[in-house]
Symmetry: C2
């Protein structure tokens, strides 16, 4: 099913099939996805570089989060609970080493910085095994 998703048409952005596809995939995904995962889903229909560009463009528009996984790759997730102005990113992400799923951990965390320090980016990552993948323990 092809969902019609509105892109922000301000700022001279255009609405293309590729963007629709990627946005739809992101929306349907229950986890944050990286370029290579998207590539798999989309097959050779869409170019590598294009995926990167679209994802980063979405990110600039505030539609998706961009998070750096603790495997060194970037993951993108559809923005929920974020208004135009205020994004909520100060939570940890969890990556399952077995099934690869990435989830947001519920608790927002507040890290105290030393006096005079200014925070710009927050990145919290925990990897391990999710409930489904660590049955024994």
């Amino acid at each position: 099913m092809i969902a019609i998703i509105f892109l922000p048409l301000r700022m001279n952005k255009r609405n293309t099939k590729t963007k629709q596809l990627i946005l739809e995939t992101l929306k349907n995904a229950e986890t944050a996805v990286s370029q290579d995962i998207l590539q798999e889903e989309l097959g050779d229909a869409v170019d590598r570089a294009t995926i990167y560009r679209v994802l980063n463009s979405f990110c600039d528009d505030g539609i998706v989060h961009k998070i750096l996984g603790d495997d060194g790759k970037y993951y993108f997730a559809f923005c929920v609970n974020c208004t135009e102005k205020k994004h909520h990113h100060n939570h940890f992400h969890f990556r399952c080493l077995e099934c690869g799923k990435i989830e947001c951990l519920p608790n927002e965390v507040d890290i105290k910085l030393p006096k005079g320090y200014r925070s710009v980016n927050f990145n919290g990552f925990i990897s391990g095994y999710c409930a489904a993948c660590s049955p024994g323990a």
Copy 2:
């Protein structure tokens, strides 16, 4: 000055000049260092790949921490307050976007995972401006 540092000689490890040099540099550094920073300090005396290998080897031995910076590079820091068995890694690291310095933030953090989840790696990173580099604010 050449400090004599003991490497774990168990596990068929050998003690070489290169390892001594790198370990010494790590010990003297007041911040976590990445391969390229080490490369600068060591000049062309030591090969790129060797530095990587030695660092990862140290990491396997539990001598140094390996942390993924929010710039996508790995940083290594001498292990302090870590016993053979128990490492204390559950603190945030701060990277100054101006001077590049990397520091450990004092507070250990305890993130609650959902039921059944098992944590293996912890990675907390905040980047911004340190006191020296953000005078105005």
